[in-house]
Symmetry: C2
Amino acid sequence: MRTELLAELAQQLRVDSVRVADLAGSGHPTSSMSAADIAAVLLSNHLTYDFDRPDHPGNDRLIFSKGHASPLLYSMYLAAGAIDETEFRTYRREGSRLEGHPTPRLPWVDVATGSLGQGLPVGVGMALAGQRLGKAPYRVWVLCGDSEMAEGSIWEAAEHAGYQHLDSLTMIIDVNRLGQRGPTRHGHDLGAYARRLHAFGWHTIEIDGHDIEAIESALEEARSTMGEPTAIIAATKKGRGVAAVEDREGMHGKPLPDAASAIEELGGRRSMRVEVRKPTSALADARPEVGHLNLPRFAVGDEIATRDAYGQALTALGTARGDIVALDGEVGDSTRTEFFSKEHPERYFELYIAEQQLVAAAVGMQACGQIPYASTFAAFLTRAHDFLRMATVSRASISVVGSHAGVSIGQDGPSQMGLEDLAMFRSLHGSTVLQPCDANQTTRLVAAMAELEGVSYLRTLRGKTLVIYGPDEQFPVGGSKVLRHSIDDRMTLVGSGITVHECLVAADLLAAEGITVRVIDMYSVKPADEVTLQAAAADTGCLITVEDHHPQGGLGDAVAEVFSDGRPAPRLVRLGVRDIPGSATPEEQLRAAGIDADSIAAAVKLLTGTAMVR
Amino acid sequence: MRTELLAELAQQLRVDSVRVADLAGSGHPTSSMSAADIAAVLLSNHLTYDFDRPDHPGNDRLIFSKGHASPLLYSMYLAAGAIDETEFRTYRREGSRLEGHPTPRLPWVDVATGSLGQGLPVGVGMALAGQRLGKAPYRVWVLCGDSEMAEGSIWEAAEHAGYQHLDSLTMIIDVNRLGQRGPTRHGHDLGAYARRLHAFGWHTIEIDGHDIEAIESALEEARSTMGEPTAIIAATKKGRGVAAVEDREGMHGKPLPDAASAIEELGGRRSMRVEVRKPTSALADARPEVGHLNLPRFAVGDEIATRDAYGQALTALGTARGDIVALDGEVGDSTRTEFFSKEHPERYFELYIAEQQLVAAAVGMQACGQIPYASTFAAFLTRAHDFLRMATVSRASISVVGSHAGVSIGQDGPSQMGLEDLAMFRSLHGSTVLQPCDANQTTRLVAAMAELEGVSYLRTLRGKTLVIYGPDEQFPVGGSKVLRHSIDDRMTLVGSGITVHECLVAADLLAAEGITVRVIDMYSVKPADEVTLQAAAADTGCLITVEDHHPQGGLGDAVAEVFSDGRPAPRLVRLGVRDIPGSATPEEQLRAAGIDADSIAAAVKLLTGTAMVR
């Protein structure tokens, strides 16, 4: 499209942004207007996209990292004919696909944005998938705001993109100088961004973001730059084109004061239609074949760390399925994804110590058809909490595996212990939370995760645990195992992971004293096995949960949730880690936290009155 | 100290690191040995510190951001005479202050480290306090590993330190080339780090980290550099001095294979003692006077957003106490900390959109005697989860305030909604979690937070809510308010924040139909008011919790936890946000989530059987 027409199109995008926010009574028209020229040129002359086939593997990826500029994105969809005026006018209304910030309820939106600093790291994941996994050639375009450049996650992504030479990735920074509450740190100093990005290995181009020809040439340059990602750093004005708001403070995130006159000032409504170039590759990516899965098998009575079983199972899964990818945060020797890296190096992604980028890359890759397993220490996954939260809004399906759970890691101390991870994952919408206690259980759950929707979490242990299940045992998600059971059970012990073994020993100790207790292995923390827990409640009247985790948000809360359905509840007691641990051996740690076999047995005796009798 | 002696001291620090890890049977001697020369020179010639008075305001701050190098830190303490050989030998044993990673159980450790990438941002907070608040002059020394330079939080800190001209801050990067599982991204390419940091406004010095004279001169240069923070980028060798491990892969995080011969190779044990220079300023910082607190007062029946009340209360608190500081993530117009910024600009810290740095700065400032309130959207606090977790290990006392809680924010959609924040804060050890429903309650809780130990969280609302409490009402932490109460109560509604008002309307709707229910305002989510909840359970037999949060980890779990003490429990039902919301008005959102008055009333009728009878 020629310059004059592009300028017209940009004005149309501005007008549409203004009027849709006005109709909605809220939204971010000024943040849309600053990037309208860029959007017009990108849509008309550079984006490759088949809006009728959003799943086409040759489609470019377009991410509005500055998700609040959704009026602009939806105005582009309107111009491309992807949505009609009737739908356009539903912006921000209940039930509309056109939400305040873009989400994959729209088929052309791969990932949700709105929490700043996430679009670029997710785009890195998409570009990695495209360049490293032999996909159809596509480009990844990420529109960033200048405010979000302060987020560390942007620099994790900048580092990774530069290091990996992701030349299919283009970041366009809409430097409109004004953040939410006033001027940004660097204002219109484009060089501040260019110097930083250049140091991180990027090709940088500084332009006037309202100069159509400059935009055209910069986008062309980005497409032809090899070996480096490109950053187009564009000086723009927020609210561009309407004097009442242009480049003015206090005009963030609200409709224009007088939309009618603003639209007039912008030249009135237009109805240009853009024919977006479609991908030339005719074929869809062949879905990798799923071969026979040969999971490792462990002998009952052996001692194996669940993290080892995870590494082996993941490797086997990778052999069976070509769409499995593994990602790690430079701790693959601890999480045991190194097993996978040796067998399937081409599908192993080292993200270094950058947990936000780790999870973001997984989210980006699943949007490109991969089945990602992202691993690091359970404790350090808290670093990526906001990315996990947004992954649920993105309707992303990712498997996340946290090792070194709980105090049972021993001497390294609390900084390395996952003691809040169950709470974090349990609170995520639609999540699955799994915690195996032995090697064979681990392998089954690892395989099951590949089929799960949403964010799935598996928690593994540093130390070895006894293999108590045979290799053919089944462990459905949402199930549990009753490991001790008699008609005389006076109480039920509910363990998960390491504490299953402590509960079993406690049960044996108690049995020797004539006190029989039921023991449940609640390997599926969410969803919980309500039937088994309800039965245990009916039979024994009292459940004691034992968890290597703080008492809030984990197993204790999960069991209590089962009994929050309005029916009469059993007596509940929870044992968990109630202090900040120090350094000590694993055994000392479990004892100090009161979650070892002796402490469990003592609790049972106290509750049954046996302790007082003796 | 002269060069030859410094070289001897460095060998002593190496020997001690090797032997203490050997005694413990675990730890990171090789990561200590790489930085031993730096540590020797810093301790002897540049650190200002009175080990007898760790609370001396003139003391420098020394942070081992690479906390796994704790053997080196403790060897420095041993050389300085702060600890003796007997204690030194307790490293990593149960009960010892010498944990695997440093924590403030040692009086000379201001903040815990061990989760990489946190020391520098915390150091930025300390330097900010020192330079901006007219404190005794002290320097902040942060020893970083090269692996942790991949963490985005490092670059949030680098950006902030450069922008704020924090010349009292020196980062020393121990570039030993090897991370946990193998080579780092940049290996020994010192220029890669220098270029990046220089672009972020740092003065950079590249040295051989085993050249004593080069170290001496670099530290001297750092101390005399004005207007910029300094990064000393030191090429080192992991395991330096012992051929069996020096610069070799696979030697991370474990004792040396043959400690005795290694110690011999290092020249054997030494017992040099370092006289560390003490601060010259004789006086302790005067503790700011605490004046009379004039909290804002709101009239019952008015409508005020709790975020507005927070902003006003914080401003009043800042007027009464000079040690109050406010920090924000570039959303002060939303969180309402802008009120504080106008009244107390010298104690207002704009951290821009960098939530990790936001929380880290608060942690750093509290270590320097301030009482920080850190604010952003509740949703975006998830970005700082790992920093909040480590704040608890640091025994830090900080107040954190999250606005825009829950679906009640309306049209902006799920990316902006805090729906997991209660779960996150509740799972933190020793945390306090508060959620006010009206303006007068907010002001009281904001004032109370200044006195609390640990991480305290207050959750505020975007929209206006009715003032239902008088300005003289008291709201003790751990308390609750019973707002409807009769001897005929058939059920109890437990709300918090916005849902208190929905519960009250529901109670009125039900009362009109002859169904009386108790209503409890559980403004203190953690600790919970067990007495009042137990009484409601005894009186009514059934509690319905209503929360604008996902059903896991929040109010429902908090109430269930109260009934997990082994005593008979009431029937529990929880209403919460069970889907991913879209865009809609606040009223539509509450209805869609089933937490509005009508939904609550319907639930009560269903549970009491009234619905079926009618």
